[in-house]
């Protein structure tokens, strides 16, 4: 019965009737969840349109380069074969250099977003060291966070150390920590996605792509990983 009320509230159906059946705290929580679901759905569509825009821009680019090559060929009718070959080679090289839509650095910049640690208890309740380390991590004091996380036995600490190193522009240490976490992944932290990004940042495109390809369709960040892979192809 209550589940029905929750469903109706989240689907925006007959909200005034549902309001009486749920407590104020429940309504607050559900309102956040409803907006979060909405945001998530809109972010996905936004990403889809951004990718479409890249395709359109890339096609426009190819069409204009074809047109310019066409104009060059008309002029070449009166030019010697050697000169036209030189032009074709130059055009080919230009196309090769410009056909890639994004560099690994650009892909990293457009796809990396700081993953805040969830479930962190703040203030005096932050009793254990791991929790304190995560509070520091969420405050983006990454050097302090690394030294605190380094003292923790919690296996998840390696994931957050990896991210901290990424934030400090140290991809090789990030790779080390995220790989370590991946040997014994506790929980469902998306280490493969960030490990893939760390490889891209370090310039190892092949390994980055390989790591991102390991993310299954049922895992988080699959869409983002596919987007990067497509742009690397």
């Amino acid at each position: 019965m209550k589940e029905d009320s929750i469903d109706r509230y989240l689907r925006g159906q007959n909200i005034s009737a549902v309001n009486d059946k749920l407590s104020h705290a429940e309504l607050e929580e559900l309102s956040i969840i409803r907006e979060g679901i909405r945001l998530s759905a809109l972010q996905e569509k936004s990403l889809m349109l951004k990718n479409l825009e890249k395709e359109i821009a890339s096609n426009d680019h190819q069409v204009s380069s074809k047109q310019s090559r066409g104009r060059i060929m008309n002029l070449n009718q009166v030019m010697a074969i050697a000169a036209s070959l030189t032009l074709l080679i130059a055009a080919g090289l230009w196309f090769v250099n410009n056909s890639g839509s994004s560099t690994p650095d650009e892909l990293y910049a457009s796809h990396y977003e700081f993953p805040a640690a969830l479930g962190v208890v703040r203030g005096s309740e932050a009793a254990d060291d791991y929790n304190k380390a995560l509070v520091t991590y969420n405050s983006k004091k990454f050097e302090d966070a690394i030294s605190l996380l380094n003292q923790s036995d919690n296996p998840r600490a390696k994931f957050y150390m990896g991210i901290s190193y990424l934030e400090l522009d140290n991809p090789s240490s990030a790779i080390e920590q995220l790989t370590d976490y991946g040997l014994n992944p506790i929980g469902d932290l998306p280490y493969q996605y960030f490990l893939g990004l760390a490889y891209l940042k370090s310039g190892d495109i092949a390994q980055g792509k390989l790591t991102l390809q390991k993310i299954g369709e049922s895992q988080g960040y699959w869409t983002e990983a596919q987007d990067i892979i497509n742009q690397l192809n």
Binding site: E3, I6, D7, L10, R11, G12, E29, I32, I33, R34, E35, G36, I37, R38, L39, S40, A41, L42, Q43, E44, K45, S46, M48, L49, K50, L52, E53, I56, P115, A116, L118, G119, V120, D188, L189, P190, E217, S218, Q219, G220, Y221, W222
Partner: protein
């Protein structure tokens, strides 16, 4: 008039029944017109214009999904232009204060009247956290939750779309996903 209504019915229905395909079509068909309009009427950069157009298409989608737009009283192009116009003015205002353009989160929060700035920030943070949890959960949970609660699809339709054996399987899966989401949301 009848023709316009018929057309509007078609694109609203198209977005409801197959959002990805419909939004891609709209984006490709209306892009040049909207960008030309912005080039003519605003002094925004090309990148800002593209971002605004993208936001306009996403807002159009959101307005249809949340029931704000059930019947178009204007043509699709005019509707998109009116959103682009409002967004352009917002970006101009922001740029005159400080640099930075609009985001999807701002668009969503901006639709709600929240008096207290701190309260707005806290709420915004929490909403972002829920969206991140969903992103981390990934399919099938993210998909089922969005299809059921945002797109308001029926369990039967979700079952068919996602190749589930029967409606009960979808219901069970949705229940488990929601429990997971609520549990994780309580810790933010």
């Amino acid at each position: 008039m009848l023709q316009i209504l018929k057309q509007s019915h078609t694109w609203i229905e198209d977005i409801r029944s197959d959002p990805d395909r419909a939004l891609k079509n709209i984006y490709q068909e209306e892009r040049s017109f909207c960008l030309s309009w912005m080039r003519k009427h605003t002094s925004l950069s090309d990148n800002d214009q593209i971002e605004i157009f993208q936001s306009a298409v996403v807002i159009l989608y959101d307005n249809i999904m949340n029931g704000k737009l059930t019947e178009a009283k204007a043509q699709l192009s005019s509707y998109l232009i009116s959103i682009c116009k409002n967004k352009s003015q917002e970006v101009h205002r922001r740029q005159s204060k400080h640099s930075g353009s609009d985001s999807i989160t701002d668009s969503i929060i901006g639709n709600h009247v929240i008096d207290d700035v701190d309260e707005k920030e806290v709420k915004e943070e929490k909403i972002n956290a829920v969206a991140k949890i969903l992103l981390m959960m990934g399919p099938p949970c993210k998909t089922i939750i969005e299809l059921y609660y945002y797109q308001k699809m029926s369990m039967v339709d979700i079952g068919q779309l996602m190749d589930y054996k029967n409606v009960d399987t979808v219901k069970n899966q949705k229940y488990k996903c929601m429990q997971r989401l609520r549990k994780q949301t309580q810790s933010i």
